[in-house]
Amino acid sequence: MTLTRFLLSLLFLASLLTSAQEEKTGHTTPRGKVWIFVAVDCPIANGYAPELNRLQQDFESRGIDFTLVYPEPSLHESSIISHLKEYSLDFDYHHDRTHRLVTKSGVIVTPEAAVFDSNDQLIYRGKIDDRYSEFGDRRSIATKTYLRDVLAQLLAGEEIGFHETEPIGCYIESLAEN
């Protein structure tokens, strides 16, 4: 083996490793995005904080972008920051003062998820899982993991049409009409 051939094969190996790394850290184009609508004082939404962290941990590196959306217009930025800190939520967030994201996704409560594919098509809207079936009706363990399943399908490249589940939570108030 000549030295040149050896160096070339090293370079080739290095390029393979880099692309694998890119795949892993999600530096490639996102394969989908999730907006999760939350509020600082909704007990149902807050109860989901640990699950939201797990979802981000499991899917962000595989190409799913997560954004927490706070739809309450009168919130102070400082309340959002302290809320993120209080519930250990290490997320990008958006304060949706004009309800642009609320309107685009059609969500009505917190917590509610909206999932878009890489073509920005809405493919899922609704519950994170089935722990709540009604106000006060709470399962201790989820039996249906709606959001997790949609993200797995999206990453598997499955053809998915839009579907939705009926969310339970604190209603997003309409913007005051001027």
């Binding site: 807050n46 009604e134 106000f135 363990i141 209603y171 997003i172």
Partner: protein, 504 residues
């Protein structure tokens, strides 16, 4: 000019129904009277509802939860005897929230606003006579299933006390869901506390020597009426039996309670009437997996005239309905409590508006139903499993308890004895268990193996912990907390009689 105004008013008339609903005039009175006592700074509800801004921010959610009947939390049916401090909205009040929303949540004229009730900060009944806190905080994880945990509060009281009321102040309001106050005079709870390395202990592995009621957020703190008070004998510890809901973040709870004492012993002693007794142990709750309508019932005949002041139920996750009725000797039937949508989260005690007199001979009957199918979202088991009576929250219990006094103070002993006989049902079920597990047929050998110090007596410490209290209650004729050979012979005879009578 006036005619123009008149025309304008005529034009507006069809909308007046909407235009009329404003925050200050219509919404604030309902909110202040029913919501604000918990939904305010420093109290247990998740957000405040004490002014226009706060109520307006949650208007849609409020309209939905009042329409569902989820809020305000109140599970006793309003069709029967009236209760005190009712937190239930009329259909007219409920519809006002949606009308207000449709109208765009107008604030209206602040001059029309009702006076905000004078909600006390801190202790609701004023400075308590004794304040006790948990020695160490208990850590509640960010998520996972609900937690039931008991914490011992040693009191070391030098003398007997009579308790008019107890208040509880949680340190982590969002996770502490409710607490029951039990008494333990044996020191067992103390010895269990902290054994697993964390404050408190789980399960109900101690014999309750009494109860001081409970704390549920939303319930109004109140002193017992008249000169009534609950006994708190010296040497008793209070055991807080607390239910936690994880909130999404790690929280540390260190509960403080305040006790309010009576100056003198009451003229009549309180006596609970629990049907079925032992939180349902005696009726043998055993619910097959998938069974959507399992019903238990039991009744008790009052031996003396009784004055009932409050009623409350106890069950776990899969209970659906409960009803307690009283059939008086003259045939009149009173429904004392009906719950058609049991929710373990809101185990309240309901105080009758006026105490209910039940003459001797009245039959008190409880009927309790359970849904153990997987269609029941409250079912803790997936897929559904056979559920039996037990002390863990995923087991089941079921009973309804009246609290009251004999009309004649002298009747206390008779009433108390009758409720003790009633509790013997628990023993019958224990006996059945011993027969079925074939303990009965191997009794002499089992007694020999339990008799560690070989003195032919089974001392309390040698008895299996789970049935210690029940066996002593049934068999310890001389009250020395030990079963001597003749008392053990009585155990043998009892099991044989039971076997014969049940044809096992």
């Amino acid at each position: 000019m006036p005619s123009k105004i008149f025309a304008f008013l005529i034009l507006l008339a069809p909308f007046s129904a909407f235009a009329e609903v404003t925050y200050h005039k219509d919404i604030a009175p309902i909110v202040y009277a029913n919501c604000t006592s918990c939904h305010r700074e420093g109290e247990s509800a998740p957000f405040s509802l004490s002014n226009y801004e706060e109520v307006s921010r949650k208007a849609k959610t409020i309209a939905r939860v009042v329409d569902d009947g989820y809020m305000p939390p109140w599970h006793a049916s309003p069709k029967h005897l009236p209760f005190q401090d009712v937190r239930r909205l009329s259909s007219d009040e409920i519809s006002k929230f949606s009308l207000w929303l449709e109208a765009g949540k107008p604030e209206g004229d602040p001059a029309a606003a009702p006076q905000m009730p004078d909600f006390p900060k801190g202790w609701q009944l004023g400075e308590p006579d004794l304040v006790v806190s948990m020695a160490k905080a208990y850590e509640v994880p960010a998520d996972g299933p609900d937690i039931y945990r008991n914490f011992v509060l040693p009191l070391d009281l030098p003398e007997d006390k009579w308790v008019k009321a107890i208040e509880l102040r949680p340190s982590a309001r969002s996770v502490l869901h409710h607490s029951l106050f039990f008494l333990d005079d044996s020191g067992t709870a103390r010895s269990l506390d902290g054994k697993d390395g964390k404050p408190g202990f789980s399960g109900m592995g101690f014999r309750k020597s009494g109860s001081l009621g409970g704390f549920v957020p939303g319930a109004t703190s109140k002193r017992l009426p008249g000169d009534l008070a609950r006994p708190l004998p010296k040497g008793s510890d209070i055991v807080l039996s607390t239910h936690f809901h994880p909130s999404g973040k790690v929280e540390n709870e260190r509960t403080t309670i305040g006790l309010y004492f009576a100056d003198s012993p009451p003229s009549r002693q309180l006596q609970e009437v629990q049907v079925p007794p032992g939180f349902g142990r005696g009726v043998g709750i055993d619910i097959p997996a998938g069974e959507s309508n399992y019903v238990i019932e039991d009744s008790f005949t009052l031996p003396v005239d009784y004055e009932a002041i409050s009623v409350g139920g106890h069950a776990h996750y899969i209970c659906k309905t409960m009803e307690m009725t009283a059939t008086l000797p003259d045939g009149e039937r009173k429904v004392l409590l009906e719950i058609t949508d049991w929710d373990m989260d809101w185990q309240d005690t309901y105080y009758f508006e006026e105490s209910v007199i039940l003459p001797a001979g009245t039959i008190i009957k409880s009927v309790i139903s359970y849904d153990n199918s997987s269609n029941n979202p409250a079912n803790p088991h997936i897929p559904s499993q056979r559920i039996k009576w037990g002390r863990e929250s995923t087991d089941e219990m079921g009973s309804i308890t009246l609290i009251g006094v004999p009309v004649e103070a002298d009747d206390f002993t008779r009433l108390s004895r009758a409720t003790k006989v009633e509790r013997a049902k628990i023993l019958t079920s224990l006996g059945r268990e011993l027969i079925n597990s074939r303990v009965a047929s191997r009794l002499p050998r089992i007694i020999k193996s339990l008799d560690k110090n070989r003195d032919d007596n089974l001392d309390a410490s040698e008895l299996p912990e789970r049935m210690r209290a029940a066996l002593l209650l049934k068999l310890d004729a001389d009250g020395d907390k030990s079963l001597n050979p003749s008392e053990l012979q009585a155990l043998k005879d009892w099991l044989e009689n039971l076997k014969a009578s049940e044809g096992v």
